[in-house]
Amino acid sequence: MEVLAVLLVLLSAACVMGGLVFSVLPGIPGPPFSAISPLLALFGLQAGGFPVSTPLWITAAIFACLGALVTVADLLAPLAGKLLGGTSRGAVIGSYYGLGLAMLFSLHLGGVSGAGSLITLGLSLVVGAGISVALMIMGPLLGGFVGELASRPVPKKNGMVPYGMGPMVKHAARAGIAQFLGLLLTTTTKFLYGAGSALLCTGLVAWALYQGWA
């Protein structure tokens, strides 16, 4: 029984980590991981014989419902971008490619600048962090711009097709900015939800342990 309790609490911790990581990485949605982690922690505590009161279950259930809402909002975000900003699927794919390239490059840059900081007394770390932040902003922005440019022609205006490079670049730049802002908003929301899940899990486990030992 205690083995099951430890396993469930460890699984909850893994879900917290997964929720935080997948809130930034595209492909797998992070909020479902964050949503189930408090419930798993409570199941683990109950299996370990700690008293888990009803308000704790209600708090975890409300948090899980909130997670479902965040997941649905995250899934509908590209559609909202399409309806509001007129962005295409190409812009969405492009911005994810840009984000992925920037993130992986920053990962390597972080390692190199961290190692270099031993010689440069931390200066390279500051420079590396600055370049990484700039890349993380520019990646999705440029990716959305290029994706929109590559995916489809400029929509018709008053039944006519606008021609020339000007309207095309303007339309793609607008779509790129809209896509970047959407990505920033959804990623921040998901990450904050993941951080909230980590805090809630820690609080719930600490409270249940305190109740059990008091």
Binding site: Y97, G100, L101, L104, F105, L107, H108, L109, G111, V112, L142, F145, V146, G147, L149, A150, S151, R152, P153, V154, K156, K157, N158, G159, M160, V161, P162, Y163, M165, M168, V169, A172
Partner: protein, 101 residues
């Protein structure tokens, strides 16, 4: 007297032609291989990505320089901009990883 504006041309082609499609596909391929090459310890793949990223740039330049082309220029411009961005990133990554890691 206000400057006379050209009316929008309804005959302007709206579809993406074969050159544009080539730029699109090669850009997507380069970006995908570039994504793999950015993973730590996979830096050696950037020797492949750097020349590969020149392909959409060249296709885009050729497509834009064809006189009287009816090609929609969006994917061609995207090929140039995207290809150059990936080329810069892969060269920087090669320098960071010493061409190996």
């Amino acid at each position: 007297m206000p400057a006379e504006q050209n009316p929008p041309n309804p005959l302007e082609p709206r579809s993406i032609g074969s050159v544009g499609r080539s730029a699109q596909v090669t850009l997507l391929l380069t970006a995908s291989v570039g994504l793999v090459a950015m993973v730590p310890c996979f830096g050696i793949f950037n020797w492949l990505v750097a020349p590969l990223s020149l392909v959409p740039v060249i296709i885009g330049l050729v497509g834009l320089l064809i006189p009287d082309s009816k090609e929609y220029p969006g994917p061609l411009l995207a090929g140039i901009v995207g290809g150059m961005a990936i080329l810069c990133l892969s060269l920087a990554r090669l320098m960071l990883g010493g061409g190996l890691i």
